[in-house]
């Protein structure tokens, strides 16, 4: 293995940018922009990367899909649909603390399969605190459960988590194929996680609940505009249907999302400037910057060289399984402590390089998706949803509601390891299914 000057230079830029991102020396979006600009400039100077290649490195499908879904979620959120759902679930739990935990977590997981799990938790967390405040119970188990299982739920679909969108886009995996392969292991991991939560929070859940009567929390006030709500349900249903059939029409998932968005805009006629204000541009620019940075490293030839080395091992069918398990655990370990997006963006060209070496990389994509998704539960900083939940619990001012980083580690690490063990076993037993 010989390293050329462009390989060394691009790696230095990549590591410097990742250092800034992970240490949070400056805002991650600023770090990504600085890294991308440097990579293009140096790449042009040393003649290994051009502006055209940098633009092509940005996965427009990922960026546009995220932007469209952010706008759809914003419009749906303003109708009060999430609030209504949370109150409805709390009512049907009929004052059973364990049932309430299962129902809330199930709802958050299902919503996170289609919509951004961060938004789901942002809406559900304060409402859950209010519900538990009225019920006079500790909100901590419920919020921790919501964060963890929204992370787990998001793994199941192509649109559930940004890494999945990136993987699906790079590997040209359609929504249905993603769901068929990821839903079964996620469903099993979900069951194990909820059982673990019920066990680990058994003391907190062994309490009497004050009934959540209409006089305390008025669900009729939740839906602010029934007509708008109906229109948004129609638009969202259209998007979900299109996600299931987009590959038959050769539609990108982003185009399917934009069809639903266009329908929602036609029906609701929101002010575009307000709608665009709801898009998290910082996240989108961060992703674009990362694509450009990793594109530079790829253009230097380093990633394909890594791919060639890895291909020597992965070409052996028996070693392919080991490679998958290794990727899953390494991805989870890294994702527990650092942002999983940079790792995913870096791994994608390496795996694509393996494919060009004749390796069947299909199981590697599933392993990567499971790893980066499950790892987020390990620590309090592993996923944005975790940070939101911790912040909401602190703000609540409720005694015993706070969860420290160590407490989270005690709950999250076993849940993550359990999830990874279950996934590894399933991967081994049903390897042909994931291999196909």
């Amino acid at each position: 293995m010989t390293f050329s000057s462009p390989m060394i230079i691009s790696t230095v830029i990549l590591l410097a940018a990742y250092y800034l991102i992970f240490t949070e020396t400056i805002h991650r979006t600023s770090a990504a922009i600085i890294g991308a600009v440097t990579m293009i400039g140096i790449g042009m100077w040393f003649d290994f990367y051009s502006q055209e290649e940098a633009i092509q490195a940005i996965d427009a499908n990922t960026i546009l899909l995220l932007a469209a879904m952010m706008m759809v979620v914003s419009m749906l959120r303003s109708t009060g649909a999430f609030e209504y759902t949370a109150i409805f679930i709390s009512r049907i739990s009929k004052c059973q603390p364990r049932r309430l935990l299962i129902y809330l977590c199930l709802a958050v997981s299902l919503i996170s399969m289609i919509l951004d799990n961060v938004t789901t938790v942002i809406v559900f967390a304060p409402l859950t605190i209010l519900i538990t405040r009225i019920m006079k119970i500790n909100p901590m188990p419920y919020l921790v459960g919501e964060a963890m299982l929204s992370n787990v739920g998001g793994i199941a679909t192509l649109v559930g988590d940004p890494p999945n969108i990136m993987i699906g886009s790079a590997a040209n995996i359609d929504f249905t194929t993603f769901l068929v392969h990821m839903f079964p292991p996620v469903a099993v991991v979900w069951c194990f996680t909820i059982v673990f939560l019920l066990f680990t929070f058994r003391k907190e859940l062994d309490v009497e609940i004050t009934p959540l009567d209409e006089q305390y929390l008025d669900s009729r006030q939740a839906i602010t505009d029934y007509v708008a709500f109906s229109k948004m349900v129609l638009a969202l249903t259209t998007i979900i249907i299109l996600f299931f059939i987009h590959h038959h029409f050769h539609f990108y998932p982003s185009y399917a999302a934009f069809i639903g968005l266009a329908l929602a805009m036609a029906l609701l006629q929101p002010k575009p400037e307000n709608l665009f204000g709801e898009v998290n541009w910082s996240v989108l620019i961060f992703f674009a910057g990362l694509f450009v940075i990793v594109g530079g490293v790829e253009a230097s030839g380093l990633l394909s060289m890594f791919g060639d080395q890895l291909a020597q091992v992965a070409k052996d069918p028996s070693m392919l399984l080991m490679t998958c398990i290794l990727i899953m655990w390494v991805a989870a370990l890294l994702s527990a402590f650092v942002d999983n997006i940079p790792f995913t963006v870096t791994m994608i060209p390496i795996i694509l390089g393996l494919e060009s070496s004749g390796v069947n990389v299909t199981p590697l994509w599933w392993a990567l998706a499971l790893g980066v998704g499950l790892g987020g539960n390990g620590t309090h900083i592993g996923a944005t949803a975790n940070i939101i939940v911790i912040s909401e619990l602190e703000k609540s001012g409720i005694k015993d509601a706070r969860i420290s980083p160590v407490q989270w580690l005690k709950k999250g690490a076993p849940a993550t390891v359990t999830g990874l063990c279950v996934s590894s076993v399933l991967f081994t037993i049903f390897f042909d299914f994931f291999h196909g």
Binding site: P126, L130, I134, K136, D213, Y216, L217, D218, K395, G397
Partner: protein, 148 residues
């Protein structure tokens, strides 16, 4: 019209004052907030009843979903919040750094514009050395207009 014409002279909060005393001043002078001044009388901050309630008495989850609360809600208690413990806290714990102030010869229209810009219902009047002279509220301006 100049601000000095509709200015109300109030007591100011000083470092060491408790929440109870600062609130009492606001109630006595019927104003939503009072300034914090140092030993020389120079403006250093402000005490706002709204901000104090917001920071200490109302949880964020309740604010976000206030419209969902039923009329019969009676089981959310503000434990410790309205008790002596809260009133005994130093008022400076709730001091706001953002102070909007004008000179006595400033025009009322400027005061109204500033109050809108900063989404507040009062501002302070100070001299050239930023010593506190009094405050102006929407009510004091309206009262002055009615009297004229």
């Amino acid at each position: 019209m100049k601000l000095m014409e509709c200015m109300t002279k109030t007591r100011a909060a000083t470092l060491g004052m408790k929440v109870r005393e600062a609130m009492q001043v606001c109630v006595d002078y019927d104003c939503p907030g009072i300034p914090f001044v140092d030993e020389s009388g120079k403006l250093i901050g402000r005490f706002s009843i709204r901000h104090t309630f917001y920071q200490h008495c109302i949880p964020a989850d309740l604010i976000k979903h206030a419209h969902l609360l039923g009329n019969g809600i009676d089981n959310i208690e503000m434990e410790d919040h309205y008790t002596d413990d809260f009133m005994k806290l130093p008022a400076s714990d709730f001091m706001l750094d953002q102070i909007i102030h004008l000179r006595p010869d400033s025009q009322i229209v400027k005061a109204l514009a500033l109050m809108e810009q900063f989404n507040t219902s009062y501002l302070f009047v100070v001299d050239d050395k930023e010593h506190y002279l009094g405050l102006v509220t929407h009510q004091s301006i309206a009262r002055h207009l009615l009297e004229e």
